[in-house]
Subunit: 415 residues, 2 copies
């Protein structure tokens, strides 16, 4: 079935925000066997949205909109879809109750204009939104096409897509072929090295296909198969995965929605281990990323952001002589941070990160992007020197990835 | 003049890559006074691209394509544009020489299929590409519209846009108007409340226009003016800003690329103040976001991620009786965290955050999303209770925003 996605919002046309909603939707729809052949962006303007809807309904079987379901005057999607399909708007009482309840929980009276969010085209099926006030909707056209309205804020769009829209489509739309992917996550190897190792496989790829990406400091390999059934697709992928693993197995740490943080969390859980961080240049990012994982309170006992030398010496016992002799950005200080924080919290391993994230603070001997990482366990302390060359936030992220990777190595020692 | 951008490429429709090209182009075009009213994505398919081009030429004065100018079979843009405009393709010798030269410099013989990149619709004006092999082009239609073809790789697209396309447009298209925007950032008020306060202004808006968005836990108001000169636009915006500030001034903390973290950093710098955080459910995110700002080492002395009760009592002196009587998620513990971390690092203010980010750990009396925030300074300690209802990472982000906001309030006390 042919899908067109219409992303509404003047902020998209002004270039204020990047259209991440479309990437998410197109990935999910393709995975579920829908052919996304068109995507259109249009502003918060009734006539233009109406024109775009009419064109989409001519060339697609399913038209999915994002945005324009909020409480303000600029939010015109439900109203315009109703006009396009010649349907009246009517109040959906359960949605209104839900919105009132949402404000009630915050001890706030519902502003009058939020009632608009409960006005839906007559006969629309509601896609419940438990993380915001705007419900999604499915409206059927007279000739059996579907118009699906999703909220614009990415977290709400994702929530409604995964929990409501995809199950609805699976129930109501028959698919001829499905597209299935498996993602392998690698650490300790660069993108072009991975590409070289797989070059002869990639040249001859037809079904499944292989693609290699660098993302958030990790390398991922995506294997994608298209076939009539999930079983066949999974078999095709399994054969290809075998070939890839024959060459790169030791670099692969996880599959699908695995991340390095999750892999570290799993290693910690496996051995009933605990961890603590002493973060300098990463400023708490390592701890924050590890605590993004539900259940991390089982293994993360605590961390210290030792941004100042005072914090380093007072809290985690970095020696003043070491700071004086080698400077705060040094392997010696990184190691004392890892050991100090491990002692402070009494954890299985302690991680220390110190460096110069930039843009200021670099020198000839200690350039921007110089980051020392250290991990201490009962068997001893290791350290690693990195030279990154990205922006401040990029260098922070890469440092965290390198620290997670070294921590996994150090946990494996304890097996 | 009305612009439509057509981004071609099956990889966009599969969701393999994010459409950053459109954001860049729309920003540049808007800055230069062009109205980007439509954007379409279509795959590498001749018939569909032809249909999309025809629709675009009906509703826009300038149609800009990206992608499909490479040497492979999937690269069909120049050919399809020629078909659409009933023009023959012809060899452009200077472009062919340039491509041969490009390969020559790398000591590689030009692959035969690269000759396709020098085949251009008859009469096209060439937009030189010094960073790749695909030249850009401008083709005029019989009724005076422009079709502009840009290469797809972002670095080449940016290069050709800035150095070739924009100067061409400036020379050949008379602009009646430029579009200028100013963004106001608000805290302490929800999107719909802001909308209600500005409702009568928004109803009557023509030029400048006002739009309200929620983004990353902040509310922003964008005022956009269209006028013949920048001066006039700025005056129009200033008048509107005055009206907005008459109603909402105390909620506005910054303009344009300001963020709440930057605003907090500025307040800290202004008074030569220092700050420290005791973070529980936010797991280091507050500290990490503040340290994303270059120069934050001037005011951030350190932080503690007190994920375990042990960390709370050992490091920042939260009393065991308080933990026993009220639990770790309570106003009492939040206040002791703020005071304890302030004492530990000797900072002007200390911030404590404790709560249940989810998805697990909630109960009837302490539901998911219940977050206590506290800020201590020499004059005393304040606290705030929040009930958020997002995902784990969303609740973390909103908690950080609420904490930054309360910290700014508490710094203002010291003025």
């Amino acid at each position: 079935m042919i899908v067109e996605v219409i992303n509404t919002g003047t902020e998209l046309l002004l270039g204020d925000i990047l259209n991440t909603n479309f990437q998410y939707l197109s990935q999910k729809l393709n995975e579920n066997g829908f052919d996304v052949l068109y995507q259109t962006t249009v502003g918060d303007n009734e006539q233009r949205l109406l024109d775009v809807l009419n064109i989409a309904l001519e060339r697609a079987d399913i038209v999915i909109t994002t945005g324009g379901l909020g409480p303000t005057r600029g939010d015109i999607t439900a109203d315009t879809v109703a006009k396009c399909l010649h349907l009246p708007l009517e109040l959906h009482q359960p949605s209104l109750d839900k919105i009132k309840d949402y404000f009630g929980k915050k001890d706030i009276a519902m502003p009058a204009n939020n009632i608009n969010q409960a006005m839906i085209p007559k006969g629309a099926h509601i896609l419940k939104n438990d993380v915001g006030t705007a419900p999604g909707m499915v409206v059927k056209t007279k000739n059996g096409k579907l118009v699906i309205l999703l909220p614009g804020p990415p977290n709400e769009m994702k929530h409604v897509t995964t929990l409501q829209m995809l199950p609805y489509l699976e129930k109501h739309c028959k698919q001829q072929a499905i597209i299935h992917s498996k993602v392998l996550h690698l650490r300790g190897m660069g993108e072009s090295t991975v590409a070289t190792k797989l070059d002869d496989i990639i040249i001859n790829q037809t079904n499944p296909t292989i693609a290699i990406y660098a993302r958030q400091g990790e390398i991922i390999i995506r294997i994608t198969a298209k076939s009539p059934t999930l079983d066949i697709a999974q078999n095709l992928i399994a054969e290809m995965e075998k070939q890839v693993r024959e060459r790169l197995n030791k670099f692969i740490f996880g599959v699908d929605d695995e991340t390095l943080a999750k892999a570290l969390g799993r290693e910690l859980t496996r051995g009933n281990y605990t961890i603590s961080f002493a973060e300098s240049c990463t400023g708490g990012l390592a701890t924050s990323m590890l605590t993004d994982i539900p259940g991390s309170s089982n293994y993360l006992l605590g961390s210290v952001v030792s941004y100042s030398n005072m914090a380093k010496s007072k809290l985690i016992n970095v020696k003043q002589e070491t700071l004086d002799e080698y400077g705060a950005v040094s392997q010696q200080v990184a190691c004392q941070m890892a050991e100090g924080v491990r002692n402070l919290f009494g954890t299985t391993i302690g991680v220390g990160i110190t460096g110069i994230a930039g843009p200021g603070g670099g020198s000839d001997s200690k350039p921007l992007g110089l980051i020392y990482i250290s991990v201490a366990n009962e068997k001893g302390t290791v350290w690693e020197k990195n030279n990154f060359n990205g922006s401040r936030s990029d260098n922070k992220l890469r440092s965290v990835m390198a620290a997670f990777s070294l921590a996994i190595d150090k946990l494996n020692e304890l097996k």
